[in-house]
Subunit: 534 residues, 2 copies
């Protein structure tokens, strides 16, 4: 029996028009490191329609891919809406990929138009001869006085158009945006979001059990807008009228703390490194974080010490989130369960997260589905309306299991649905047949006052097959040595997890989106480039 | 271009299984006027699977309608999930309809099984000979020692089944529940919710910009579960693990205030009459409402005086909501906009509401679409994924307009999307070609300390076509007269709105869901049954 309900499509267009209509006075703020550019949703919405008209004039058709090569700025937000509202597909290019990867993803996605920040042209320009489908560039910001044929200044393209462009109907299952994962092996793989998935993700994350965004919030969007839709914050914030504060490329502790003091955001997302840098900077500079009601962090495990410092020194509540480009990206977050006593609050927030309503999760060891007992260790698999079921033109059946996405994250799930990730599947350490959690050892090491960063990798061992090697970044001038660290760790983990092998490194190598890149460390170890003490 | 996302169905089954898995310890509390019955989501979920198995044993097939004739109690909640999860359709019967209407809707929906509270059998039993499709009754609670053939005790049906029943795949657009509107003219009309519409409505109302429910909430479900899914609170609360407190039929001020003191709910929805009764009761009895963080009210206009009393005497924040059975039901609510000064807060909350993200709204005067200027008066039309597009087997093209639902509510919309309803279209008063808002006059009258209730209706007038007649329920023993009320009103509304005609009544007649039934008053006036002074 069918219902009598309307089948209104869940689209970015509907979301965009709601924000435009209901929250005309909400703000979009862009920071250029020194000055603030401030405008309203009403004005951005007018420019979105102008940009869409300009793209149509450039011949962009529904289904066509339009790439962006931009920082977190107002124009990038305009593209977030203009491109999908006209039925085209927004392809946010990760500016931190290797040049050959950037060329690969543009060609693989068959982008026809690129919207490029002038400050990033130096990366893109050398690649142009290798781009087989791009026919137009729109340049944001200052550029040379005369542009090559096929290049247009963004503002000049907009100024020609009027802002009364209307949009046609859109199938909710059609593509709205795409994003390539920054995998450390092989070519990047494309995830194509639908209008439906973005709408549903937005509605889920504004729930009070997730970010709880409303028009009373000012959301600092520090996750890159070229990576997993900046964790969905721009779409969700627009939907409910939260002010959006875009820090452009100024994510270093000094300018970021200045922006926070100026604009007083109530909410922010950022990878753990950004928060760590900010907390360390605050040890020697005045930093006021009192405007935040909630901040979130993810992308890699958040050290407990960071959560504690933010809470105890700054009164800032950090909640850990978990997800992947492939999961929309939000799949879980670590709000403590109702009734948690104050003294246990941080214990819960150090967990990876509890599955979000709308997402299904299970724990698998090959074909065996494991219990949620907080003990059984397996790979997290997820399913849901904002989870990808494939990669774009890239068959990878090993990434899926009976319709569930294999996340590559290894961990446990407790009876209340809280995940604890212990490792990426490619980073696991199996010593004498038992799992050693590199993530847990790293978090303990990073809680030591003289350690800036630490990464633990598996290295071959004749007796135990694999053993952990701890690679540590010390604070300058510290007197702490490995013996002291080992003693520090011995009070926190089981004895057989204690690394015998240690190495000092200058910094932990990171992927294009700031995650620890342990593959590089394993290669250095294999090439004898690390000075290992044992 | 299609996306790569999974097309996971948005179903009550998914919502149910999330609550079961993630919030096993959340509570379901049923009040019988004296004692409390308390259980967990885990236990309710087990019983849901038992009930589903029992219904399958009774031959219930996907698509078949199962009626409920119940108060707000645990068993009703179990049916809310068991029936749709097995693919059948939950038909919540409004126990307050006239007997012939009850028989009509059961036959029209073709219910095959009815789940009936024993305390309501006296209403249903006389109708049984007229029910052409019902083949089974499940009786909740005490019933006669031996039951007629075809009747089964609810608990006996459950006890036979085990709780490991699993459910099959469900099409998200298929019917999940149906509810007949309590229209005051003609036969009731059926709205058939889909799985999708209930899922989406639940996700929308747990947003922080709507009810903001989380597992930290204890939600008092006073809206009838037989009316518009109790405003969606049971589904939404279950989805995010909010405790559900079900007051059965004990909605009178005395038992309700006892329940509130015992269970300390943080959230509640109720029609204005319930809140008014509670506030009046609190004038002479100790009532503690300090557990509430937010209460909502709708179904008819909420008098400003009620919002003020709740705020100033009890510190309770009441926000007005707006919707219809046809709109899921939530379509708008009156959270003030960000940045509202404290002194203006109540002004905003007295508005009918701001349209909720996911719903589209427009103002129409026939074929003309009116501006959102806070002045133009027209009929509110809505569209969206939880708005009905038809009535069940009941063609009513006049209720729809180019795919939009005509709500029958007349009012204005301001530039920020706040609706102010001035009248139901059938209750409007047009005097000398201009609108008089009966709702606004009523609200002013009900703010007078000696007035319990007031209803204003249009009566024919030789000179002005129509004029308002004010029908007033005075507090017992008051000395206030119509002249005093008219003077009171003269300070609050424009002069030409002031009623010349007045009548004392014992109470305002109400529909089966507690709305003012002005049709009855107009009939009494036409029949000369009101003692009108002028």
């Amino acid at each position: 029996m069918q219902s009598t309900m309307q089948h209104s499509a869940l689209t970015i267009l509907a979301l965009f028009e709601h924000g435009q209509r209901i929250y005309p006075d909400s703000e979009v703020v862009t920071f250029d490191g020194a000055t603030i550019r401030r405008t309203s949703f009403a004005e951005v919405a007018r420019r979105v329609r102008q940009l869409a008209a300009a793209l149509v004039r450039l011949g962009v058709k529904p289904g066509e891919r339009v790439g962006t090569f931009c920082w977190n700025c107002q124009e990038h937000l305009e593209a977030y809406f203009a491109v999908p509202c006209l039925g085209a597909v927004l392809h946010t290019l990760n500016i931190r990929l290797f040049p050959e990867q950037i060329a690969y993803v543009i060609n693989h996605a068959e982008d026809s138009v690129l919207i490029v920040d002038a400050t990033l042209l130096h990366i893109l320009e050398p690649l142009l001869p290798r781009l087989s489908t791009v026919r137009r560039l729109l340049i944001i910001g200052d550029a040379a006085p005369s542009l090559p044929i096929g290049w247009t200044r963004y503002e000049e393209a907009l100024v020609r158009e009027n802002s009364d462009m209307t949009f046609g109907a859109i199938d909710e299952c059609s593509a709205s945006a795409m994003c390539y994962t920054s995998g450390t092996t092989g070519n990047p793989k494309g995830v194509v979001y639908s209008h439906r998935s973005v709408w549903l993700h937005s509605q889920a994350i504004v729930s009070a059990s997730c970010f709880g965004l409303t028009d009373r919030d000012r959301a600092l969007v520090s996750p890159s807008m070229f990576h997993a839709n900046a964790w969905g914050i721009p779409h969700a914030g627009w939907f409910v009228g939260a002010d959006l504060i875009l820090p452009s490329r100024y994510l270093q502790a000094e300018p970021l703390s200045r922006l926070i003091a100026l604009e007083r955001p109530t909410f922010a997302g950022a990878v753990p490194t950004i928060w760590s840098d900010l907390v360390r900077f605050a040890e020697t500079h005045p930093v006021d974080l009192s405007s935040f009601r909630l901040v979130i962090s993810g992308g890699s495990a958040v050290p407990r010490s960071l959560i504690e410092k933010l809470q105890h020194r700054h009164g800032v509540r950090l909640v850990q989130i978990w997800g992947l480009t492939e999961t929309g990206p939000l799949a879980a977050l670590a709000h403590p369960p109702a009734g948690t006593p104050v003294e246990d609050d941080i214990d819960w927030r150090t967990k990876t997260g509890r599955v979000l309503q709308g997402v299904e999760l299970r724990l698998a060891d090959g074909e065996t589905i494991l219990p949620w007992d907080g003990k059984a260790v397996g790979e997290i698999e997820v399913r849901g309306p904002w989870v990808t079921g494939a990669y774009y033109k890239d068959p990878t059946p090993d990434k899926f299991h009976d319709g569930w996405l294999r996340t590559g994250d290894i961990g446990t799930v407790d009876p209340l649905g809280y995940i604890q990730i212990t490792d990426r599947s490619k980073d696991v350490i199996k010593s004498g047949g038992e799992w050693v959690s590199s993530v847990e050892i790293e978090n303990h090491l990073m809680a030591h006052p003289d350690v800036i960063e630490a990464a633990v990798i598996a290295v071959p061992d004749a007796r135990w097959d694999e053993r952990p090697l701890a690679c540590v970044v010390f604070k300058a001038g510290t007197a702490t040595d490995f013996a002291a660290l080992r003693a520090f760790l011995a009070e926190r983990v089981v004895r057989w997890w204690l690394p015998e092998r240690w190495a000092v490194i200058d910094e932990v190598p990171k992927t294009s989106v700031g995650k620890f890149d342990k593959k590089v460390l394993r290669e250095r170890y294999a090439n004898g480039e690390l000075a290992v003490e044992s």
